[in-house]
């Protein structure tokens, strides 16, 4: 009997559609897998076993009744805890929201439900998505399924670890500076940051509004595309949502499987991110160079391009991001929802309760960024900091424009290193921040980015990731090329990368229902 947790969402939907497997079965095996391994992995903050099984049973009933269902109907999915859900607590990894039950669903969650996917639960993340390791979750770190001593990336380490540990075939993530692509790289999974405005942000707890984008996480490019098709599209609740008729990403991925899909494709190698810069691990560079050679051999034209302003991207990002976050997080004041903490002594006034609540409810990284952002927006500093950062953003957009005049797609490693040890960089913030150097430019420019496995680094046997970037709105192009490259790489390895992940110890059980 096929292990339903090991197959792709596309394969699982085939089995569900032809009736050989029920959604209840598929959901149950994933819940069992979570119960078996999540005690070690800690990908989930909340598991909704009962409602998941009820949803699955409902899908099975409607399928039996002959209802027309969507392509992913009955397939389990994990949801990053930054997305509000009316039937599951939503914390964004923060104590300040512990136990909060939102009165509404995020638009993407509503779309999952309308397409009859089965939400399994909420996944762990760095508090308010601030971090690259999931160590900043108020509920404890998530562990990388490839090596439990290591980080699964961040902020969406929970979603990436959930798919990499076969706890869910699909997951939703959000990507502000790489929070989908970098965890995908270090867990050997696939993640996609859509064009800014391609997916609704309504109900995604905002960190940096102009950078945040919700996107799909899976183990294959095709699965990622299938989930992308479910969540994409205009939403009148999000004023920055694009009124675009998006082509089918799944069809685009299918097109990439045809012979010669890479022939004549102009692949731009960003010199500034090609691994010659400081901080790139040798094994990452080696796998990247090998991938470029494979692409050339497959008929692609590999061209070096320069994006000189990318070197300012981290500096700009760490001004824009905290500035917007400091304002977005102001609403966590205890007045309408979430934690309320009275001051230890002295009078109880709203101002002092707000202050005590925020002091108790926010973790150190969140406080650090609020202070940074508040400072960057202050009168007299605005032009020097936030204003200059916005100018850098324009320069980075121009670098992309110039590059895309010469090439069809830009490539770089998704992350400069493989997964580091939990605790290794927690006291070296700059080292942590530098980790996002490859992914941040796409957020600053609003262009789409796809991260997929690029092989294991020889020196540590851990996954590396390849990042593809295309001009804004050209998300489909990335799925076509991503599927083609995935096929090329897997042919060269003779297997999928994720199949090489070590077996996890089972039986270190966790309670199945909600342990926020």
């Amino acid at each position: 009997m096929t292990d339903l947790t090991r197959i792709s969402a596309a394969e699982l939907s085939g089995l569900l559609a032809d009736g050989s497997v029920s959604s209840v079965e598929a959901t149950r095996v994933h819940l069992e897998r979570i119960a078996a391994v999540d005690g070690d992995v800690h990908a989930f903050l909340h598991v909704a076993a009962e409602t998941a099984l009820a949803t699955a049973a409902d899908v099975d009933r409607r399928r039996a009744a002959g209802d027309r269902l969507g392509p992913l109907a009955g397939v389990p999915v994990a949801i990053k805890d930054v997305l509000v859900t009316a039937d599951m607590p939503t914390t964004a990894g923060s104590k300040i929201l512990e136990g909060w039950m939102p009165p509404y669903d995020a638009t993407v969650v509503r779309k999952l439900r309308e397409s009859d996917l089965v939400p399994l639960g909420k996944t762990n993340m760095d508090e308010f998505a601030m971090g690259s390791s999931t160590e900043h979750s108020a509920y404890g770190p998530t562990h990388n399924p490839w090596d439990l001593e290591r980080i699964p990336g961040g902020s969406g380490g929970g979603s990436a670890a959930a798919v990499a540990a076969f706890e869910a075939p699909l997951a939703l993530g959000s990507d502000t500076g790489g929070s989908i692509r970098q965890p995908a790289a270090v867990t050997g999974s696939v993640g996609f940051k859509p064009t800014y405005g391609g997916v609704s942000r309504y109900g995604a707890i905002a960190m940096a509004s102009s950078l945040d984008q919700v996107g799909p996480v899976a183990r294959t490019v095709m699965d990622t595309a299938l989930l992308h098709d479910v969540i994409a599209g205009h939403d009148q609740m999000d004023a920055t949502s694009l009124a675009t008729d998006w082509p089918s990403m799944a069809a685009a991925a299918t097109a990439g499987l045809a012979d010669g899909a890479l022939k004549g494709v102009r692949v731009g190698v960003i010199q500034e991110l090609a691994g010659n810069a400081d901080g790139f691990q040798a094994g990452v560079k080696q796998r990247f160079d090998e991938t470029l050679a494979l692409l050339s051999a497959a008929g692609a034209e590999v061209i070096g391009v320069s994006c000189p302003n990318f070197e300012y991207s981290i500096a700009a990002y760490y001004l824009i991001h905290p500035a917007e976050a400091s304002s977005n997080l102001a609403r966590f004041d205890s007045v309408r929802f979430g934690l309320r903490e009275n001051p230890a002594d002295g009078p109880i006034t709203s101002e002092r309760v707000m202050s005590a609540t925020r002091g108790a409810g926010f973790g150190p990284e969140v406080k650090r960024r609020i202070i940074l952002g508040t400072y960057a927006l202050s009168a007299g500093y605005y032009d020097a900091y936030y204003g200059s950062a916005q100018k850098v953003r324009t320069l980075i957009q121009r670098d992309f424009q110039a590059a895309f005049e010469k090439v069809d797609v830009l490539v770089s490693p998704s992350a400069p290193t493989t997964a580091f040890k939990i605790g290794e960089k927690i006291d070296d913030l700059l080292a942590m921040y530098i980790n996002d150097i490859t992914t941040i430019p796409a957020n600053l420019a609003g262009v789409p980015g796809l991260g997929l496995p690029m092989g294991l680094a020889p020196e540590d046997g851990l996954p590396t990731g390849l990042q593809l970037m295309a001009p804004a709105m050209q998300d489909a192009r990335l799925y076509t090329l991503g599927a083609a490259i995935e096929q090329l790489l897997e042919a060269s390895w003779g297997h999928t990368l994720i199949s090489q992940a070590p077996e996890l110890r089972t039986g270190n059980t966790r309670s199945a229902e909600g342990n926020n």
Partner: protein, 499 residues
């Protein structure tokens, strides 16, 4: 501050030149709020008109209300402003429990309308042109109610309640440039300016424009410059002055207060001040400096607003006649005295009188009924006159009186019937049988009866003591239950007595 600490107004003006500035907030009457689909309604149950966006819940996002943009552009145009080709919203960051997100979505360096002017006319006939710096869009805050404690104020309260129904209601804030040269007219300029803005938003139909409900709120900036100096004084900002008379009083008070402080060698603190209607005084609020740091930055959740020039011109074509011009025109057309016209304006019955005249009544009759009996009855009921009767009904009533079917006295009874919902005037006349008895035969019969029963009176009349006829006329009117023309009765009494 006790009144004793106020300098005499004339003396204050001798020593100082007042410099003014105004921020007027206009609450728009759009069906929904500025950034969400919640109803923009007054008087609903607390926190019923709310959603994740206007409650500032995690994940909520704003969407711009197109109708509010339209209203703002029309208001900007009516104030003679330029309309921005593109403008952005900005976040004004500050923590306060009535502001759900702890930032107000407003406009900062890119207002939708800028550089306009409004010319007002004072009672003396002096014309003052107030330069408008900008009119920008923003959202209102929720409403705080302080419970416990003696005063209902925040100081000493046990706890406070927040109602976010008003949170997110669209506002336009109109900011003037500094107004110099006001001199002793400063308080009247304040009142007249706010009245003019209110009149404009009302004529545009973009706001309910009721100051008592906070639809129009004025913050008045006052500073004093010593005569002979060209350095501006420190200003105070008196917040939320919510009636026209209060605007005038607050400015006058601040001039007298500041003059006293300055003359005594003190300094004026730059601060907001609260206006107290009951005592007619202001008291210190919070210190305010130009360096108040709201950490403004462009609202990343919204895209820029870029009204096309075609749309702006379409909206310009919808502007009503400017209220000041309209008043001049109507006063001339109706041939009212200044006093008569002011009476109509002050009673806010210009629209009603105009519509009644348009329906065929004479201007004087329309004025008399609206500012007289109808206003009196409205006052008794505590409602607005226009809610009682329509201009068409008043015109019909006037026509019945002009034709002699009704006397003024009967007219008042008919009006009561109309207000009571008995139908239009003609229907009330019919139903209540109120028409003047114009049948001489019936009158003569009644007169003969009256004369017969009062022979002494008849004798007096015949003796030439005509004034004695009053007793007979009274008896006849009584017999006719008032439905007779008293002048005609008098004529007939004299005729019959002579026979």
């Amino acid at each position: 501050m006790a009144k004793a600490n106020l300098m005499d107004y004339d003396k204050a003006l001798e020593l100082f030149e007042p410099v003014l500035g105004f921020e007027v907030h206009v609450e728009l009457n759009t069906a929904t709020k500025m950034f969400c689909g919640c109803a923009n309604e007054f008087g609903q149950g607390a926190n019923t008109n709310t959603c994740p966006t206007c409650l500032g819940l995690p994940g909520g996002l704003p969407q711009v209300n197109g109708k509010a943009i339209e209203s703002s552009i029309r208001l900007g145009l009516a104030l003679g402003c330029e309309i921005a080709e593109t403008c952005r919203f900005a976040r004004k960051n500050y923590f306060y429990p009535d502001t759900a997100k702890n930032f107000q979505t407003s406009q900062y360096d890119e207002p939708i309308a800028y550089e306009g002017s409004l010319t007002i006319e004072l009672e003396s006939g002096r014309q003052v042109t107030v330069a408008i710096e900008r009119a920008h869009m923003e959202e209102d805050a929720g409403k705080l109610t302080h419970k416990g404690g003696a005063s209902g104020r925040i100081q000493g309260a046990d706890y406070s309640l927040v109602d976010y129904n008003r949170g997110g209601v669209p506002l336009v804030e109109i900011v003037t440039h500094m107004i110099e040269g006001a001199e002793a007219d400063a308080p009247e300029i304040g009142r007249t300016y706010v009245a003019a803005v209110r009149e404009i938003v009302k004529a545009l139909g973009v706001s309910n424009a009721r100051m008592e409900e906070g639809n129009v709120r004025c913050d008045a900036n006052v500073s004093l410059r010593p005569r002979g100096s060209d350095t501006l004084g420190t200003r105070t900002e008196t917040k939320n002055v919510n009636s026209l008379r209060s605007v005038e009083r607050a400015i006058r008070y601040e001039i007298q207060r500041q003059a006293q402080v300055l003359s005594a060698g003190g300094t004026i603190v730059q601060e907001t001040r609260h206006w107290h209607e009951d005592t007619g005084t202001t008291s210190p609020g919070r210190p305010k400096s130009d360096a108040d740091d709201y950490r403004y930055f462009p609202e990343p959740d919204l895209v820029p607003v870029a009204p096309s020039r075609e749309w702006v011109e379409e909206l310009r074509a919808t502007l009503p006649e400017p209220p000041a011009e309209r008043r001049k025109r109507l006063q001339a057309e109706w041939e009212f005295s200044a006093l008569e016209f002011q009476d109509v304006v002050n009673s806010e019955l210009l629209d009603q009188v105009e519509a009644t005249v348009a329906a065929g009544a004479s201007a004087q009759s329309a004025r008399k009924w609206w500012t007289g009996e109808i206003a009196r009855l409205a006052n008794v009921d505590g409602v607005s006159p226009e809610t009682l009767v329509s201009p068409g009904q008043v015109a019909e009533l006037v026509a019945l009186i002009d034709s002699g079917t009704l006397t003024d006295r009967l007219g008042r009874q008919v009006l009561e019937g109309v207000i009571a919902g008995e139908g239009n005037p003609a229907q009330v006349v019919e139903a209540r049988g109120l028409a003047v008895v114009s049948d001489d035969g019936a009158l003569i019969a009644a007169i003969d009866d009256a004369l017969a029963s009062q022979p002494d009176v008849l004798a007096k009349i015949r003796d030439g003591k005509v004034q004695a006829a009053g007793a007979v006329i009274g008896a006849v009117m009584k017999a006719m239950r008032g439905q007779a023309d008293a002048a005609r009765v008098r004529e007939l009494v004299l005729e019959r007595a002579a026979e």
